[in-house]
């Protein structure tokens, strides 16, 4: 009799344990119901890269003075600057320039150190090709206007969390003209300038 009773008790305990574990496991699942939606329906929707995004490098042929600073500051001396000295005008004549984006780590040193600002970062990040040698961009490819998420009529640009209005957690279906939380730098500056005379007056008193 006692043996039978013990079996019943064990069975009930185990059923309770199993229910507990299932509940624990599913709580992780149900936890997602209160989380922020992060899915972006790429390629129909794309996230807008942040301001200092380091994408494909843009190169302006006319501004380059063939100083090779970009090569020196590059961790792997990647940019290829093909120039020759023009004896008549005593100037370096830039023949070709190229950066292999299959090897580039997008550290941005070249852009930072370029003395004539002929290198710049773009927001272009879709650099997939079938052949890695296609990523070796020459100065013609580097000089093309970069792709922008916000200028593509086929793409719905989605803002990242930091750029959403206060209290909004999803970048989808934002009303037109909605702004991010906080003020823009120029607005802060304008306010500081308008406040400055008042504070001076206060200090004078």
């Amino acid at each position: 009799m006692m043996k039978f009773l013990k079996q019943v008790i064990d069975y009930t305990k185990e059923a309770g344990q199993a229910a507990k574990y299932i509940g624990q496991g599913l709580s992780v699942t149900f936890d997602h119901m209160s989380r922020r939606p992060v899915t972006v329906q790429y390629p129909y929707e794309k996230l807008i890269p942040s301001e200092r995004f380091r994408g494909r490098i843009h190169f302006e042929f006319d501004k380059c003075i063939s100083c090779e600073v970009c090569v020196r500051v590059c961790p792997i001396n990647l940019p290829v600057v093909d120039w020759e000295f023009d004896r008549e005008t005593k100037k370096k004549k830039l023949n070709h320039y190229s950066i292999d984006f299959g090897v580039c780590i997008f550290c941005g040193n070249c852009v930072e150190y370029c003395p004539t600002n002929c290198l710049s970062m773009t927001e272009e990040y879709e650099l997939s090709t079938y052949d890695r040698h296609e990523l070796n961009y020459d100065n013609v490819a580097l000089g093309r206007l970069p792709y922008k998420v916000t200028q593509d009529p086929m793409v719905t640009p989605i803002r990242e969390l930091g750029y959403l209005p206060k209290g909004v957690v999803s970048g989808h279906d934002l009303p037109a003209g909605s702004r991010g939380a906080g003020k823009l730098p120029e607005e802060i500056l304008a306010q500081m300038e308008s406040d400055a005379p008042k504070e001076e007056a206060k200090a004078a008193e």
């Binding site: 005008t89 100037k91 023949n95 004539t116």
Partner: protein, 138 residues
């Protein structure tokens, strides 16, 4: 120091050329120089003209300015060097297009160059066209 002296000695002669009136300088000195230099690198059917035309790029086509227009390779390839002011030291731009298309991108031309001389304009032109892989293969 000797280099500076040489430059100083060479300057008076050069300055005369660049101080000539804008149109005279371009039609009588720059165009023949560009023609000769591009002839040396193997462009034989170059058609160089100097006209006041609206900018060829969509979006800014309402601006009239003087342009050196070069067409070659059976008029399939064209490049333009535009002068926004009637002054070779003023703002200049460059645009080019292949396969008889309209140029789509307006680029700066000699934007960081303080000295603007005949030789330098020719050098920059040849350099830019070479960069476009139009003169030689890479």
């Amino acid at each position: 120091m000797p280099e500076e002296k040489k430059a100083a000695a060479a300057k008076p002669k050069k300055e005369k050329l660049e101080d000539k009136p804008f149109q005279e300088f371009i039609t009588e000195h720059l165009l023949p120089a560009i023609n000769a230099t591009l002839g040396k690198v193997g462009i034989n059917d170059l058609d160089l003209t100097f006209n006041k035309e609206p900018l060829p790029v969509a979006g800014v086509s309402d601006v009239d300015c003087w342009q050196i227009i070069g067409k070659f390779n059976g008029a399939q390839r064209q490049f333009r060097i535009g002068f926004l002011k009637e002054d070779i030291k003023g703002q200049k731009f460059f645009c080019c297009a292949d396969n008889g298309a309209q140029p789509s991108l307006l680029e700066s031309f000699m934007i960081d160059e303080r000295r603007v001389t005949l030789d330098l304009i020719v050098l920059y032109t040849v350099q830019r066209l070479n960069g476009q892989k139009w003169l030689t293969a890479n």
